[in-house]
Point group: C2
Chain length 193, copies 2
């Protein structure tokens, strides 16, 4: 088990609806030593990707993306979430994202100036479940003519379809921990090999 998998086993809590709470070390209170390892690990796995930009989405994707950008020494772009596409702004790339967690759709937005044709983009996020947020980020890259060279995920819910979908689409997806099942009754988190 790697450092992240170990913490998930020790501290992850399961809530109704297949929710895995990791807010004691990853996405509310953040263990900075673990985050440092995450940034180094994404760099190790993707250093040959040619990435010249890291893309994530606010808010909890930002910490792992910052530490990754630190080790890659490349700029970090964080996409913003908007409630409405009626933004009246021609300067944005916008992609609609279905949200299952909150049952509200939202829009991924980035300022056009900051995502360009020729960019080689590494997408980093804390969770991958249905893959909707990743699809939104891939879509804004496509609109910009930028290439997505990889998707780095801290925690993938392997029992949800996002990872399979992205890999079948030809994305290189690297997940630091893949959850194969969550048993709410026993509180047991099972990790994929």
């Amino acid at each position: 088990m790697n450092k992240l998998e170990k913490r998930i086993k020790e501290e992850g809590r399961i809530l109704p609806g297949d929710i895995l709470k990791v807010d004691s070390f990853l996405n509310h209170l953040i263990d900075i030593e673990l985050l440092d390892w995450i940034g180094k690990e994404f760099h190790k796995r993707f250093k040959d990707s040619g990435a010249n930009k890291i893309l994530t989405i606010e808010a909890s994707g930002i910490p792992p993306a910052v530490m990754s950008a630190h080790y890659f020494k490349v700029p970090l772009l964080f996409a913003k979430k908007a409630k409405s596409n009626n933004l009246g702004n021609q300067n944005l790339y916008i992609s609609k994202v279905k949200s299952y967690t909150y049952e509200n759709d939202f829009y991924v937005t980035v300022v056009k100036d900051y995502l360009n044709k020729g960019d080689k983009v590494l997408i980093i996020d804390d969770f991958l479940a249905t893959g909707e947020a990743s699809k939104g980020m891939i879509d804004v890259c496509r609109q910009a003519g930028a290439e997505v060279v990889g998707v780095g995920i801290c925690v993938e819910k392997g029992f949800q379809p996002g990872g399979k979908y992205l890999r079948e689409e030809g994305c290189r997806v690297e997940s630091l921990a893949i959850i194969s099942s969550l048993d709410e009754d026993s509180g047991k988190v099972t990790l994929a090999d």
Copy 2:
């Protein structure tokens, strides 16, 4: 001029309503080398503060707070913003914040388990203007019985009352750049000495 002041002079854009846009290097696309300098600089200025925790608020406070926590080697807690205080959750410290930018009040929330009596908290944020977000973070620390040992700000709008208020309240505030005026017509940003 330090690195941040230089970038503000070169790239900051003034929008109506005394808004200074720094999204080409600080809070949308992030220059990771500049962010590294920011983290080191906060560490240099506050290393004798005894801080054992960094507190910020989502979303654009997170990048400078991550790099600061990296150099302090202490955990990072990022407060969340909620639209309503009707959260039905006894496990949260909650403070109401008046927002001038978006004309919507919001609530700063942190899970009680992660902010404790005895904590020495360094608050880090990207902007200080009216000081409302800082006041909300200071309030949740007070509720927890934690001590605020300092407030580190990337860009302070010196012509707005937040900095003066916090310093008069006895807070140690360190701002990496203080704007003394924004002239929308000429586009000129004037920095304090």
